[in-house]
Structure formats: C-alpha cells, structure tokens
C-alpha cells in the first residue's frame, strides 16, 4: 500500500493538476471571448 508521504505527494499532484486545468480553461475561454470581441469590434 501507499505510504503516507506517497499519499501526500499524490494529493499535492492532484491539486497542481486542478490548477493546470483552470489555467487551460481560462486560456480557452479567453481565446473564444477575444475572438468574438475582435469580430464585433471590427464590424
């Protein structure tokens, strides 16, 4: 079975993964919004 430190490390990694995910989601949404805005402002 996993030792305590391993479990802690796993916990930490999962936290980092969630952070990465939010960051990437923010990038995707920014691209979408920026793109729509550029279309609206150019028109």
């Amino acid at each position: 079975m996993m030792t305590g430190t391993q479990q802690d490390e796993m916990q930490a990694r999962r936290k980092r993964a969630v952070k990465t995910a939010w960051l990437l989601a923010a990038v995707a949404i920014t691209v979408f919004i920026a793109f729509l805005l550029s279309g609206i402002l150019a028109a």
């Binding site: 990694r13 969630v18 990465t20 990038v27 979408f32």
Partner: protein, 544 residues
C-alpha cells in the same frame, strides 16, 4: 512465453482482488470516472461513428459509380458529403484518439488514472448527445447541413432551421474536445511517476501533449466562427454576409486558422502510435527520439501559419500567397525527418510482421504518398489547377484514411491484447489488413487522375470522360467498406471468444510502463507510482 503467462495470471488474480469495479451497468458505464472504461466508451463510440460516416461514404460512392443520377437528389448528396466529413472528423477520428489517450496515457506515465476523472466522464457523455443532434438534422424538413464541412458562408447561411442544431452540435463537440485536452495536459504535466521526466515519455504521450495544446488554441476559434454564422443566420448580424457589408472571405481565414491545426490534431497522435509500434516489432529503439519530439513541435508550430494555402484561389495579394506557399513547403522538412527516422528505426532491426506492424508500415508508405501530394498542392500557382478537384480529395484521404485511420487500427491491434487480456486472431487481423490496404488504394489512387483530368470535388454527377476511374474508385470503396466488418469481427472475437490469454508483456520487443502491468491491467493502473527503471522504458537514455 508459457512461464510468463502463468506469472501474469497470478498477478491478474491478485489485482482482481483490489479492483473496485462498480457492479451495476449504469454505475459502471454512465457514472464511470475510470480512465479505462471511459477510453472504452470513446473507442466504441468512434467505431459506431466510423460506420455511420462510412455508410454515408458508401452512398456517395454508389451515386458516383456511373455518370447520371441514379440514387439520390443532388441536395441529399451534398448533405452526405457534409455529414460524412463532420462525422468522420469530429465523431470517428478525434474521439478515437481521445479513447487511446484515456486508455494509454495514465499507464504510460505511471499514473493511477487521469488527473480529472469526473470531467473525463462529462467530456465523453456530451458526445452522444452532440451527434444525436447532428444526425437528427437529416430527418428535419430543411434537411442536414449541405454546404460542406467547411460551412462557407453565404452558402451555409442558406441552410434552413436545422442549421442551428448543427452549430449547437459543433459547440458541444468543441466543449468535449477542450475538456478532453485539458485533462490530457493536466495528466501529463502533473501525474507522471517520479523519474518519468518529459524527455523519457513515450512518443505517443508527447504527440498527444502537443495535440492537446493545438486543440485548446483552435477549438474556441471554431466555436467563435460558428457562433458568428449562427447570429448571421438567425439574428441579422453581418459578420460574413456580403449583402450586409460582411466579409465571406474572413470566414475562410478563420475556419482554416482552426482547420489546418485540426488536420494535425488528427495526425499527430498517429505519428505517436506508429513511433511506438515500429520499435517494438523492429526490436530496436526508436531512431532519433528527441528529433521526433522537436519535429512534432515544429509541425504543430507551422500548422498555425499556413492556413491560407487552403484558399489560394480567393485572390490574395502576391506577397501573402508567397508567404503561405513557403511556410507550407517548410512543413515537408520536419515531416521528412519523421519518415526518415521511422525507416531508420526499421533499418538493421530484427523485424516481425504482426498485424500492428503491417498497419504501421502501410501507414508510413501511404501517409508519405499523401504528404508528397501535399507538397505538390503547396505550390500556389499549380494549386490554382489542383484546388477543389479530386486531386485534393485523394490527397487528404491518403493522409486521413491510410494515415490516421490505419494508425488507429495499428494501435487497436497493438494494445487490444493489453486491454482485454486476450490475443486477437492474427490470421483474421492479417486478412483485414490486406483487404484494407489493397482496397484503400483502389479507392483513392484513381482519384488523383480524376482531379488532374479536371473533375471538381463535391459534385453528384460528372461528365462521361470521368466514368472509368470513378467506377474503379467506387469498387475499391465498397471493398474497403466491407473489409471493416472483418475489423469488428476480430475485435468482438478478441473480447468475448478468444481463449488465448495475453501475457503482460504481449509483444517480445515492447517497452514502456504499460507492458509492466498485467493484461488486462488492474482497474486503477498504478496505485503506487512505479519505479522508473531504464530496462522497462523505451527512452531511458534521453541524451540523444
């Protein structure tokens, strides 16, 4: 082999004990957060879509079997070409790669599961709804989309009410892909076992990492573009409507800014799979591992600056055309590096030719043919002849069918014993390979001739001078379509009937963390991070 098999049997029994598979059908499949079950769902879904999109291709080839209209009205023909493309691109090839990613990435990097298991469930279960909605348009009064998968306005704006369903379906597919890629990146960047440094990762992991970044950059652009089409159609805006002062060419720029990376999204994981399979059956490490990684990254980078080569005929300034021509030609360099490296991997190896290897070799040959015709298409002046003819159809089908789809089949045969714990039937696998490899060339090679001789694409009927090669192509198409039933047969046999147990190692020459697990692997891949040991992974020495 036999000693190993008993050993893996023991491990198997042992793992079964620690598995906590949900017992009910709904719990197991609808609410699953397990990367393997979700991977299976993705793969089954994409196989289903492959057959739905394929039957549309059969309708297209049947109508084109002889000059004259025999079977369908031109408008329905256009719906078929449009839906065939949308379903094959977004329903068959992309979800299949996500399925592979789900199954393999956690095992390859030594993680217990994907980083975000609940989002993983969500990103799959959006898809059946998206495609149910897309397919339902075929039964609506105004019919399905008929403006081509590129949805060029103003033509696409002539579509009826069903257009809103198409746009919404594309939004859902986009959301699904973005969530899938976020999961892939989060898993690869955060969940690797200690010691699995970036430059020790298998090439499949690398190509998927780069693919996922491409997806996150371009899917929102597609979403934006179709949103603008939606408001142009239903809310009276004029982004692309020339009548209201909009710019229809701008849509093409936007679409291909998404569309060109999109074609690499479909082919980069294929590069990854082939780079796993060839070393295994050549029993020799992949030649030039880091060059392969850099080549993949440069192809991905170049994919963002070549989009306008899809639109040389719209009339762009000379400098623009020259820039896009040169940039496109440059892609030949990293792609060449990949092909040369695969050949060098085979060179002086100790090769055997099981089904995965046969598909991988066919991939290298036929993808290269598609790549070379792509180089021809890059020459802007001559593209004014090639553009929108069957030469283009032949080109992209060569890179997508014996390219991406053959790589998917190679990967399926390669990992099926790992997934199921049984060996597939090698004899029927080979029959499937030879039928597919021969018929795919009968299907697509004559289309080069048709295009050069002047047959435009997306036409339901043609002049009699094109009759012979169309008939040959259709015959090839029917054989290719029927051959895929063999594929299903092999899979079903392997899953339910095969009595030949697979060892953990499966293939003599295979290297990588996934082969250190039993076949089938435990429900949670690596509960404890594996120790990265240079004898078990393929790219332990990353100095090259």
């Amino acid at each position: 082999m036999s000693t190993e098999s008993t050993l893996s049997h023991d491990i198997h029994e042992h793992d079964e004990h620690h598995d906590h598979k949900p017992s009910g059908f709904l719990d197991r499949w609808l609410f699953t957060t397990n990367h393997k079950d979700i991977g299976t769902l993705y793969l089954i879904f994409s196989l289903l879509m492959f057959f739905i999109g394929g039957s549309m291709a059969m309708i297209i080839r049947a109508e084109l079997f002889a000059p004259g209209l025999q079977l369908v009205e031109p408008d329905f023909f256009n719906q078929m070409t449009t839906m065939h493309a949308l379903i094959m691109v977004f329903g068959a090839v992309m979800p299949a790669w996500v399925g592979f990613a789900n199954w393999m990435l956690p095992m390859m990097v030594g993680a217990p599961d994907m980083a975000l298991p609940r989002m993983n469930n969500w990103s799959f279960w959006i898809l059946p709804f998206a495609f149910a909605m897309l397919l339902s348009t075929l039964f609506m009064d105004s019919g399905g989309p008929a403006a081509g998968w590129t949805l060029y306005p103003p033509l696409s704006l002539q579509g009826g009410q069903s257009f809103a369903f198409v746009v919404f379906a594309i939004h859902m597919m986009g959301i699904s892909s973005i969530m899938g890629s976020i999961n892939v990146i989060a898993t690869i960047l955060n969940m690797r076992a200690p010691g699995m440094t970036l430059l020790k990762m298998p090439l499949f992991v690398w190509t998927w990492l780069i693919t996922a970044f491409l997806l996150i950059m371009v899917m929102p652009v597609l979403a934006g573009a179709v949103t603008m089409l939606l408001t142009d159609h239903f809310f009276g805006t004029s982004f692309f409507n020339a009548a209201g002062g909009g710019d229809p060419v701008m849509f093409q720029h936007i679409f291909w800014f998404f569309g060109h990376p999109e074609v690499y999204i479909m082919i980069l994981p294929a590069f990854g799979v082939v780079s796993e399979i060839i070393p295994t059956f050549a029993r020799k490490p992949l030649f030039g591992y880091s060059a392969m990684v850099y080549a993949t990254a440069s192809i991905a980078f170049l994919s963002f600056i070549v989009w306008a080569h899809h639109m040389f005929t719209v009339g762009m300034p000379l400098t623009g055309a020259l820039f896009f021509m040169y940039a496109t030609m440059l892609i030949a360099v990293p792609t060449g590096v990949k092909v040369f490296n695969w050949v060098s991997t085979m060179w002086k190896g100790s090769m055997t030719f099981e089904t995965p290897m046969l598909f991988a070799i066919a991939f290298v040959v036929l993808f290269t043919i598609g790549g070379l015709s792509g180089l021809m298409l890059a020459i802007a002046a001559v593209d004014l002849q090639y553009h929108d003819t069957y030469f283009v159809v032949a080109h992209f089908h060569y890179v997508l069918v014996p390219g991406a789809v053959f790589a998917l089949m190679a990967g399926t045969y390669y990992w099926l014993p790992k997934w199921t714990g049984h060996m597939y039937s090698e004899k029927w696998g080979k029959i499937h390979f030879w039928l597919s490899a021969i018929s795919v060339n009968i299907l697509f090679f004559p289309q080069h001739y048709l295009g050069l001789a002047g047959m435009p694409r997306r036409i339901p009927d043609y002049s009699t001078q094109f009759a012979d090669f169309n008939m040959i192509s259709s015959i090839g198409g029917f054989i290719f379509g029927a051959s895929q039933l063999v594929f299903v047969g092999v899979i079903v046999h392997c899953v339910y009937k095969s009595r030949q147990k697979a060892t953990g190692q499966v293939w003599e020459g295979a290297k990588g963390l996934e082969w250190t697990l039993s076949s089938p692997p435990p429900y949670h891949s690596f509960n404890e991070p594996p120790v990265i040991d240079s004898s078990t992974i393929a790219h332990a020495d990353s100095t090259h």
